[in-house]
């Protein structure tokens, strides 16, 4: 199952009949307020489970960021699947609890961090695609990241405006922390500094 860039394959509030496993590409997950304010609640990648909810409806909209491939399963098939692949159960539990931990750190980002700290957190998070438990590859090793999402997406993920995101990118650039190529690729020149900034640690 393939969806083209920009296609919403899960709709917030729609009856939650199916769940999906993302097998290629990335997607953004978001919720909307009636007046259009948007909060991106996460980005999904290879291997992520989407649409598993205990309620009758989906809690967020999922939109393809670039082309995306998915496997769809009806909710009713979960038990059958778990029976056939017993490993799956542990996988689902791990997934859920690690997602919960990520959510808690996102709450800190949105509730208590400054714009600089938020963007640094975002960059560091993007740098460690799976599980962030091992620090950045190397404190001083430049690291180039693709950023498939727009500035607007980053802003809606970090609870900022697009202008603030852009200005903060500009500051980081001037300070020699990053270099930017064409708005969709960043190189972290000082991963260690960014990581400390993300965690609210001041270096003199």
């Amino acid at each position: 199952m393939v969806f083209p860039s920009g296609r919403c394959f899960i709709q917030e509030g729609a009856p939650a009949h199916d769940f999906y496993v993302l097998t290629g590409g990335r997607a953004k997950l978001f919720t909307l307020m009636p007046d259009g304010r948007r909060q991106i609640v996460g980005f999904a990648e290879l291997g992520d489970f989407l649409g598993l909810t205990s309620s009758e409806t989906y809690a967020f909209t999922a939109e393809a960021l670039g082309d995306v491939t998915l496997c769809r399963f009806p909710h009713s098939a979960i038990d059958r699947l778990v029976e056939r692949f017993p490993r799956l159960r542990g996988r689902l539990q791990k997934e859920a609890s690690s997602e919960l931990v990520k959510m808690q750190s996102r709450l800190m980002v949105l509730g208590r961090k400054t714009a600089r700290e938020r963007l640094a957190s975002f960059l560091v998070e993007q740098a460690s695609p799976c599980c962030g438990h091992h620090a950045l590859h190397d404190e001083r090793e430049p690291l180039t990241l693709p950023l498939p999402m727009s500035r607007t997406d980053i802003a809606d993920y970090l609870g900022l405006t697009i202008e603030t995101v852009s200005r903060t990118f500009g500051l980081f650039r001037k300070e020699g922390l990053i270099s930017v190529k064409g708005a969709s690729s960043v190189t972290l020149l000082e991963p260690g500094v960014l990581s400390d900034m993300a965690n609210g640690i001041k270096r003199d």
Copy 2:
């Protein structure tokens, strides 16, 4: 197992040997930044599971809000428990996914809502202790809530300062939306209006 008010029974970062079921009272769950900034990631109540994590350490600190009673189980006992009480598995899954949905709405609160909307969200959430899926009891029925947490706790939950929380309470009072008794008890005089405000809906 009983813990007195103010006692931390789970420490962020400590090895996660046990998990808990809260059987009485309430607790606040929070994470800290090195400079002391605090984000309350949730309040736990009767029946909540705490300390279930896929990682080696706890992701948050849990502190008793008033006296709290708990049952403690070593993590290693989960499989045994699930074997003996097969219902528990579904319970754990439901718990996890409903917590995830709550987290998503908290992200919207912290990322995109104004101070007024945040406090309204908080009051409405406190008014529907379990699952918020059925609207407030009655749109126009005043509803009195105990607030066991301090203004500081509310501020750290909503990503605001204590002064902003206090001022916003003051505004709501002046506008006839609530009435306050002794800072630890509120009456929602216009639950419908507050609920709309929480969701960013303007009433003329």
